[in-house]
Amino acid sequence: MTSIPAEKVATDPSPARPRTAWRSSDAAKGLTLISPPVLFAIALLAIPIISTFTYSFWTQDYLVVDTTITFANYYQAWTEPIYRLLMTRSVVVSALVTVITVLLAYPMAYFVAFHVRERQALWLFLITIPFWTSYLLRVFTWKVILGFNGVLNSGLIWLGLIEEPLDFLLYNASAVIITLAHAWAAFAILPIYVSLRKIDRSLLEAATDLGDGPIRRFWRITLPLSMPGIIGAALIIFIPTVSDYVTPALVGGPDGLMIANMIQVQFGKANNWPLGSALAVSAMLIVTILSLTFVIGARRFARSAR
């Protein structure tokens, strides 16, 4: 381009101008920055969820997929006893895992947040060390501990406390609960620790000053103010554990199987993707409803402290 006289530039009602302005706007910069993760999320999250959702209304007969819309899969998923049993067990096991993990994690987070004066980061680092090994290895380790000839049984026999190995340790729902609670501990400690750290120490002194002993002060101030951390920890544990299928498959035995194992079967051996999709969508729905109920309830508790 050759040079243009200055007055011409000034008077020219350039049509390209709004475009340039938009390109340099904050919104454009923001969208450019987030577009790779957004595309990634669409490819790996939105598309699978939409396709699962769509599949759940279709039917399949061996290799032929019938795309007529039907609620038959949902009817089956919600009425057949085996699916109801697996769904109930999944929710109960996850709920127990969540409660146990939060109850175990809270004192640890509390200790680090309030009683470790120096090197809190080191303590948190040490807490994460068990999680450097693979999830599968940790599950296998629990197999070794809880098994018929496992560490626990041999130890108890050696101590003379039992004569025969206990066979109720492994391959049932409680083995799943123990293994999952251990696997998710660090994920519970961190959010609770952060929320405890954020509590202004002068609030605790004010509560003491107004006559509260340590226990009452905990219930009235510390617990309600750490509720965001508890809610975070509970959701982080509850949502993934409902759909865990590795742990139940390895340590659950027939009585410890959960809904995710059934979904896996439907997508694999049973080759019934529509039913598997309906089960998955139902599970998502139940998890969402339970999580929202829990969040609302926990918030209400935090506000009702007096």
Binding site: D200, E205, A206, A207, D209, L210, G213, A305, R306
Partner: protein, 361 residues
């Protein structure tokens, strides 16, 4: 008339490792008085307040509240309540629940609780704000909530830890007057920690001035200002000219000294001047010096030159060079209708009353 002591501090020390935050402090605070702990940051005033509240234990010595030794008594069982520097309003509770927080133990009937809370809020001019959320309050309102929350407990002593430092100047001055009025009306002993000398002077019945973990002087604002016990106290409270003087003669109640720049002066003796001191420092407040044009030296009058002037609105400060003195002498003049501003370089006569000269260490 003898007012009983509500608080006695007997030889209290608090050491943090090698740091002596408090070093052998003795203090008696009378029932119903507005008492201030004044000093620069790090002088131990907040440490002392926390020892009284029970958030910390003394390394040595003891604290008595209403005649009872508080050693081993935890903060929640002491008859004191505190207004914290950041107010420490419970963020998850509304104003009503914040104020009622300490009353829960009393298990009052709902009506009784409600009326107590509303009268406490009324006392601090927050009538009807019970349902306001803690996060929706302004700085001034937070402070009033903190006051109501502490006063509703009817403590024997109310402790205030720099309660006004987070407020802007105008609100701070208004709250100073209100706090004073509130203290008179409820009759509870207030102990205020502050580093602001104006705050301490305007509000207190008595002030303890502290430096480096020790109490330098405990006195009424007037006495503290007029007869400071040490150079540190004199310099911390208000402006003060320090004048080196050589003692020529000292009797039981009079000192004759040769003051640099002022000539021979006769001043009343003070306990803090040792009998064999040959060099002393005399202090005089800038507003106790008079300034007039012309050169008329004489008894208690000296001639100098204005080196600088600073205009403060209600007063003007002149800095006057005197022969025989390095530092210029600060003179504060009220900007009344008659006063005409004097230019720098003008020859002036400085007049003083020897009674205004305070001998310091």
């Amino acid at each position: 008339m003898t007012v009983p002591n509500i608080i006695e501090i007997n030889g209290v020390s608090r050491h943090f490792g090698p740091v002596r935050a408090l070093d052998g402090v003795d203090m008696q605070i009378r029932e119903g008085e507005f008492f201030s702990l004044l000093g620069p940051s790090g002088c131990g005033k907040t440490t002392l307040l926390r020892l009284i509240a029970g958030f910390d234990d003394p390394t040595a010595g003891e604290v008595l509240i209403a005649g009872e030794a508080m050693t081993g008594v935890p903060a929640n069982l002491r008859p004191t309540n505190m207004v914290f520097q950041n107010y420490a309003i419970f963020p998850h509770l509304n104003v009503g629940r914040n104020v009622a927080y300490g009353l829960r133990k009393l298990r009052l009937a709902p009506d009784e609780l409600k009326s107590r809370v509303s009268s406490a809020l009324e006392m601090v001019d927050l009538t009807g704000l019970e349902d306001r959320g803690a996060e929706e309050l302004s700085g001034g309102q937070r402070q009033r909530v903190a006051l109501a929350r502490a006063l509703i407990m009817r403590p024997k002593v109310l402790l205030l830890d720099e309660p006004l430092s987070a407020l802007d100047k105008k609100l701070r001055e208004q709250m100073q007057i209100e706090l004073r009025r509130l203290q008179r009306s409820v009759g509870i002993t207030f102990i205020l920690v502050t580093h602001d000398q104006h705050e301490a002077l305007t509000m207190s019945d008595r002030i303890a001035v502290m430096f480096e973990g020790k109490v330098d002087q405990i006195a009424s604002p007037n006495e503290l200002y007029e007869r400071p016990a040490s150079r540190a106290v004199a310099g911390f409270i208000g402006g003060m000219n320090f004048i080196d003087a050589a003692v020529k003669k000292k009797t039981a109640n009079q000192i004759t000294a040769e003051a640099a720049g002022l000539g021979t002066v006769v001043v009343a003796s003070e306990d803090n001047v040792s009998d064999d001191a040959s060099e002393i420092v005399l202090g005089i407040r800038p507003e106790r010096l008079s300034i007039s044009t012309g050169k008329k030296a004489g008894k208690n009058r000296v001639v100098g030159t204005i080196s600088d002037a600073a205009f403060f609105g209600e007063v003007t400060h002149y800095y006057v060079d005197l022969p025989g003195r390095q530092e210029p002498l600060a003179v504060s003049v009220s900007n009344s209708a008659e006063h005409e501003t004097l230019p720098a370089g003008a020859k002036v006569t400085i007049g003083f009353d020897p009674k205004s000269l305070v001998p310091l260490d």
